[in-house]
Symmetry: C2
Subunit: 489 residues, 2 copies
């Protein structure tokens, strides 16, 4: 496998064990050396090492710096070559002028993977930068190791307690694999994932992709049994045909969501200088993506919302929504908004059947209750047993495939204690589980307090997607429905 790679040919997607084996030291290193970690806390290398220590990485850690001074409480080495044990993975955070000799050390030491935080290569669009990057790859081939980067943050693997660069916080291990050409977007997704319980199998920021690039990582995630859903932020793809083949083959088994940076002419110019690669016309790209079965998004929030919707909306879920607004306050204007937003995004909000209307009317008498879909509870907060019956009626309606409930957590918590609100949500979850129709919650971003965020998190832990707005819910549900539709076709 390694030889085949070095000879310039590429593995096939059915050769899955080979790619898993090839990149095992990248994602599951038994030991990591951080070159550039010293006693200076402000140095990037020190920050990478500190995060590894803080996150509780269980493998061996070796700081390397010129003076051999201790870093983050660990004894350091003046050269990689002096480390007595085997080193799988090397983090490089030293000036670019000193990188080439280090790569020779890596070869001598027999390391398997080298990640370069160091920048100043092809992305500068200078001859010197391009030349240096090329020379690095040559030495890696010769030395028998792979390069991640340069100009990147590298790997995040929660199951190995490997944090994302200097960001020590680690989320729960999960099944989302993410590939990012941008270190910043990758980091933001790690943070957003922790907040919204999007749990990663692995995530990688690969920067310039001098050696390992998006095609390699896509091959890996396609093969990886820990990954069931793949996301990517890409500014450019060099091996386009192979990339499209991979998307086509993989998207049948694992949904793939792609956020393309450098879509507009101005953005495209910027992408060239960001990671040094040429991006193609966005409309061509987008059409090709859809044909190949990938889901295109245009921002990190859209990406996150789509991941969350994929977890709730299955291939058998239809596009007919029931919407309930005004639980505990407001509701009229929000109902109109919900109908506008869902209706304009290809989803259906059909009237409830007469049976449902009569049933709800009997449970919630009074002029304020308008028996339509969206159902506006108009500030009424029914008792849990009544709410359970209302939700059951709505979920049992033959015109309803999934239920969206708007919860103004801030307002609700003015009326209810936290425990009461938890119980109310438990009622919703129970009604839904008994019927096997997805329940989704829209909790507006405004008026968020710590206790409200805790309630939100409780919902997430019960597997209920929580969105910030009707727009984000409807947009992502529509994208997911389109994905399943194309897959069936």
């Amino acid at each position: 496998m390694r030889l085949a790679k070095m000879a310039g040919t590429r593995c096939r997607v059915d050769d899955m064990n080979a790619i898993l084996e090839e990149l095992r030291p990248v994602f599951y290193p038994r030991s990591i050396a951080v070159v550039g970690a010293s006693s200076d806390e402000d140095k990037s290398g020190t920050q990478f090492l500190r995060a590894l220590v803080k996150a509780g990485y269980t493998g061996a850690l070796y700081p390397v710096n010129r003076s051999g001074e201790r870093s983050c409480g660990l004894p350091a080495f003046t050269s990689l070559r002096f480390i007595p044990e085997e080193v799988d993975y090397v983090v490089v955070a030293i000036p670019r002028s000193t990188v080439l000799p280090l790569l020779d050390d890596c070869a001598a030491k027999g390391v398997k993977a080298v990640q370069l935080f160091t920048a100043g290569f092809r992305e500068t669009s200078t001859d010197a930068g391009v030349q240096l990057e090329r020379e690095m790859v040559t030495r890696a081939r010769r030395g028998g190791f792979r390069i991640i980067g340069p100009n990147c943050i590298g790997i995040y693997n929660p199951s190995m307690r490997i944090p994302y660069g200097p960001l020590s916080q680690i989320g729960e291990p999960g099944s989302v694999g993410f590939i990012s050409q941008s270190g910043g977007h990758g980091g933001r997704f790690v943070e957003l994932g922790i907040e919204r319980r999007i749990n990663f199998s692995k995530l990688v920021s690969f920067g310039n992709g001098a050696d390992l690039d998006c095609v390699d990582f896509l091959e890996y995630f396609a093969a990886d049994p820990e990954t069931t859903l793949i996301g990517a932020y890409l500014e450019s793809v060099e091996r386009g045909t192979r990339f499209m083949d991979l998307i086509r083959q993989t998207s049948k088994r694992k949904p793939i969501i792609v956020w393309k940076g450098g879509r507009s002419p101005a953005g495209s110019e910027t992408a060239i200088s960001h990671t040094g690669a040429l991006s193609s016309s966005y409309s061509v790209w987008k059409g090709a993506m859809a044909q190949a079965g990938a889901i295109a998004v245009e921002s990190l929030d859209e990406l996150a919302d789509t991941v969350i919707s994929l977890e709730a909306i299955g291939p058998a879920t239809g596009g007919r929504a029931a919407i309930v607004c005004g639980l505990g306050g407001g509701g009229g204007g929000e109902s109109v908004l919900a109908a506008d937003v869902f209706g304009s995004r290809g989803l259906k909000i059909l009237p409830f059947t007469e049976k449902t209307r009569l049933g709800i009317g009997a449970l919630l008498p009074g002029a304020g209750t308008i028996l339509r879909n969206p159902l506006d509870l108009g500030g009424i907060l029914p008792k849990p047993e009544v709410l359970e019956k209302v939700m059951s009626l709505v979920l049992d309606d033959e015109n309803v495939d999934f239920l969206v409930v708007q919860e103004h957590l801030g307002k609700l918590m003015k009326t209810l204690l936290g425990d009461e609100l938890s119980a109310l949500n438990q009622t919703l979850v129970a009604s839904q589980r008994a019927r096997n129709k997805p329940l989704l919650v829209v909790a507006p971003a405004w008026a968020r307090t710590e206790p409200a965020l805790e309630i939100e998190d409780q919902l997430r832990r019960k597997g209920v997607p929580v969105y910030r707005s009707f727009e984000s819910a409807a947009g992502s549900i529509n994208r997911v429905a389109g994905y399943w539709r194309r897959l069936r076709a």
Copy 2:
């Protein structure tokens, strides 16, 4: 004027003093009676009164309830008729079955304006509801007073310390007038306004608009010297020709932003039951709005962003942006995103001139700095005097009409003290003021802490618009630019 109204004719827009006089008791009542305010704290009437007391309304307040029990520390009356002083404005929060006799009391007492929180009229689509609403208007005409509502929250006037219904918090008085058919959206805009320093002259939620409707309030705001910018959330307009004439005439002097609810067929159905009025096809509406000079938006956030952009982007501002990312952290991916988002929304990001590039290159050497627009500072945090020079160069660039700076406040505050960050922002503001080109800040919604929000607020108080995302900045700037373009044409 009043007679003319009662005879069914309508005032002309140049008859400004008349409409201001007519609605003076609505917006500047010298005394308010709250019918339905009692010792029961959960009653809506009590909540309205409590908010008036808490907000510090300076006029006379009279609770009215059947048993004459004190409310919010004030002596109450068993009937409106027993109040010894004059009553300008009456808030009604009693069951709908008791409303008609109350209106007779209002007539007997000589009140000028009656606002009904009470619902259950035309919006129920029942004969009884429609009939009752019609009868109310008849009695108001006969009694010589105006009705706001029913099914609404009524007036918010910061200069009079009149809060928005039960919401006691009051923002600073300003010059934005807002008309809302939805009480919920109106309330949300009040809250958002306080958060984002959108300061209102007045705001009104008019619900079913049985008597005073959006045309009346638009006439008022067109005439009101305190109002320089008008916003509206509307689900329907009954006097369409008059409404369009008013928009056409007024938008030349005061920008008008309209958010239309009930755009999709489903939303339109819902709007009927929300405030009882029929809404027209959205595409027709949108085209007519643009022709008449109004700015159409589709959510409250778009509305708020557009108000904010109108305050920064003037008729003479061109559409060429300079964007600075990566101040204090990240930057590459964000720069690509910024270029994508601005580029795809009709704005221009031209390359800097050679003079600018050479100047910045001399100030910020190093490979990480990419001398493009967007300018990616790539995590560099220049000293204030250097930053001031960089910003001056950018602002002086002949290809730049306005400057957008992305600030990750959370990240910046890990590096800087709050005071240092304030000083840095002060530097930005000073550079901009000297050049008279707008400065706008994009501060992502994530990683917001109390100190970061305080910094955001400092920027707002200095007149710098702060947006949550590049999308919201670019979208609203583009809408505002379109408004000025149409105005010139």
